[in-house]
Amino acid sequence: MAAKEEVKLLGFWVSPFVLRVEWALKIKGVKYEYIEEDIFDKSTLLMELNPVHRKVPVLVHDGTVIAESFVILEYIDETWKQNPLLPQDPYQRALARFWAKFAEEKIFEGAWNALCSQGEEKQKALQQTIEAVETLEGELQWKQQFFGGESIGYTDIILGWISYYLPIWEEVGSMKILDPVKFPATVAWINRFLKHPVIKDTFPRREMMLVYFHQRSEALGSTSHGWLRV
């Protein structure tokens, strides 16, 4: 019925933010063209499409440009109505958005900062991250399968990076965060997430990620900084 639509995704092979968008598009069954961007040598295309942040992911849908993974996910959910990512009920939607924001601010940023810093700063970031995972554990113990219920939803997609990236960051940064004894519900959620047909086999190769994050954490760790965003 609809004319053939064109969906393009500008991404970077190891970006967890880009992966989120890919998962959302796959869940919706939307075909897209993936365009690899070298974020260390940014193309004019990226600069034109996302002049404010100059970052990936950027989604281009029939000429419409959307940036920021959280914003793209809501756009995808509103544009393609099949397999909803957010619940229908306004309160449940508020909760989904709340936990996604929490996970991003406290766990993602915490773990990334712990990875890229040393000494006291690292310990502080690590402690805050572990406390945040404790809070998450409290939520997850009530969930049957996923935050989205029987199927993966918005919050699962936002949080999904911890299933694969966090163990790698733990290794690179010599840190221990995902303790299966302390966080059984979180680890169980991770295992279910990794096995999901849409998710498995979407991650980059582990060896390549280890090399990449070793290099990044060294490069960033050598400059003094406060909390930084990826």
Binding site: P90, Y91, F98, K101, T135
Partner: protein, 234 residues
């Protein structure tokens, strides 16, 4: 209106721009609510600790037995529960995405820089903060042109999500201008935003919740004095 039997409360402070977002959204929807003022300097109330155990921050919207936290999540909740017109978010997904796009930029980059201007340690830090704020205002001036399409607000004829997300900071922007003696919004660089700011602040949904610049300036001086003399931050 439906749901009028269910009590609506906002936990917050008169000076917080984030709290203002929730109140403006409720005003747009003509929803009556009780405003419960937290006296944060005296410690957090039981109700705040109970209704927002994760962050222990304002604003919190209490709707019957539900608590909703995080200002923009609250604004979207209000728009979805009281789903009659006027809508706070545009109906077109792309326009919605554009509105949503600016919010993290404002909250994570622009407003922190604005706050830094008053308390920056050293001239370099101050200059960097001012530059960030001015750059942001130029970007938003351009965004206003695209979003408003010649109409009075980012949201068009009425105040919308991005008006609320950005407009709530106007009180603090005016305080910063007053205390630093600089003009951040100007006829030469941000003519559209300058006019928009006046329209926003005098809008019926905003004027009773936007604090007076004088009062906010006094409050800012008090906080800065406390910060200079006080114990380490919490």
């Amino acid at each position: 209106m439906a749901k009028s039997d269910v009590k609506v409360k906002v936990l917050g402070t008169w000076s917080s721009p984030f709290v203002m977002r929730a109140r403006i959204a409720l005003n747009i929807k003509s929803v009556n609510y009780e405003f419960l003022q937290e006296r944060l300097w005296e410690g957090k109330s039981e109700l705040l600790l109970k209704s927002n155990p994760v962050h222990r921050k304002v604003p919190v919207l209490i709707h019957g037995d539900k608590s909703i936290c995080e200002s923009l999540i609250i604004v979207q909740y209000i728009n979805e529960v009281w789903s009659f017109a006027p809508s706070i978010l545009p109906s077109d997904p792309h326009e919605r995405a554009t509105s949503r796009f600016w919010a993290p930029y404002l909250d994570e980059k622009w407003f922190p820089s604005l706050r830094t201007i008053g308390v920056a340690q050293g001239e370099d830090a101050r200059k960097a903060a001012i530059a960030q704020v001015e750059e942001g205002l130029l970007l938003l001036e351009e965004a206003f042109g695209k979003c408003s399409k010649g109409k009075p607000f980012f949201g068009g004829d009425q105040i919308g999500y991005l008006d609320i997300a950005f407009g709530c900071f106007l009180g603090w922007l005016r305080v910063t201008e007053k205390m630093s003696g600089m003009k951040l919004l100007s006829i030469s660089k941000t003519p559209s935003l300058l006019k928009w700011a006046d329209r926003f602040c005098s809008d019926i949904a905003v004027k009773d919740v936007m604090p007076e610049t004088e009062k906010l300036a006094e409050f800012a001086k008090m906080i800065m004095a406390k910060m200079r003399g006080a114990a380490p931050p919490k």
